[in-house]
């Protein structure tokens, strides 16, 4: 009962946030809606027993990525001229009717393809007996330093490179 309620709440938050990101006209609001979606996805992780994933999702996305995006919006927002250097009127930054029509067409094509793929699987799917939910932290820790140690080390190098690269790219140049 509690699980079902929690799942419905998380799913609703996820879908509402995703719809908000698609349709809002304000970039700041879109970032906050994305935060709602990420919280919802963390709840969905928690519903299927992925406790470590839910915690990392909250810490990394809600604490890191969305704050970074909000800072970028605040550092770059504001100045938006309506015409480009040739004097041609630009499309609005958050899209207009024409771009939404393009988006609708591409979404229709992609969703029909995906539904065609998923339909047969959905019809024949039968759920077997599910194992009880247990803590996954210990197993993830063991796997990270045994089976997946190469990916683990490479991701540490990737993060270091991203840190140094981001600082090097964004630093202000003199002259």
């Amino acid at each position: 009962m509690f699980n079902d309620t929690f799942f419905l709440l998380s799913a609703g938050l996820t879908l509402a946030g995703a719809l908000g990101v698609v349709f809002t006209k304000n970039l700041m609001h879109a970032c906050v809606m994305l935060l709602g979606t990420l919280f919802g996805v963390a709840g969905l992780y928690a519903c299927i027993g992925a406790d470590f994933l839910a915690a990392s999702q909250l810490v990394i996305y809600a604490g890191g990525v969305v704050i970074l995006m909000l800072f970028a919006v605040m550092l770059t927002g504001g100045s938006s001229d309506q015409a480009n250097k040739f004097g041609i009127e630009k499309i609005a930054g958050m899209g207009n009717t024409k771009t939404y029509i393009f988006a609708g067409v591409s979404v229709a094509v992609i969703s029909l393809t995906l539904l065609k793929i998923m339909a047969g699987y959905m019809k024949t799917f039968e759920q077997g007996e599910l194992p009880p939910l247990t803590s996954t932290v210990e197993e993830i820790g063991t796997l990270l330093v045994t089976d997946h140690v190469l990916a683990f080390e490479i991701s540490s190098i990737l993060l270091l490179g991203a840190l140094v690269g981001a600082a090097a790219i964004a630093r202000p140049r003199k002259g």
Binding site: A11, I48, A50, L68, G95, L130, L143, L158
Partner: protein, 101 residues
């Protein structure tokens, strides 16, 4: 209620929303929001299959690596956006056309 098809549907909805954001928006930061949605849908699929159709936990590790790579991608992408803003004074995607003309 909590079943594989419902999770697949949620992941599908997130993916579709991400595609729509990426196509409809003309602001670089808004496009990056769409990329985050798509990465989340992929990670959700990995976790769902781990629970419902698999008895090992490797999918959780894949989701974890997706989260890590998304964080790195967001950091570098936003640095590029800020540098682009310093040079061009705009973050409109149509202004990033230096190689076109």
């Amino acid at each position: 209620m909590i079943s594989l098809p419902s999770y697949l549907f949620l992941s599908f909805a997130l993916f579709i929303a991400g595609i729509a954001v990426m196509v409809a928006r003309k602001n670089i930061i808004a496009i990056m929001l769409g990329i985050e949605l798509i990465l989340n849908s992929a990670a959700l699929n990995f976790a769902a299959y781990t629970r419902f159709a698999n008895d090992n936990i490797d999918g959780h590790l894949m989701s974890l690596f997706i989260i890590v790579i998304a964080a790195a991608e967001a950091a570098v992408g936003l640095a590029i956006v800020i540098r682009f803003f310093q040079i061009k004074e705009t973050i409109h995607i149509d202004d990033a056309a230096q190689l076109q003309n």
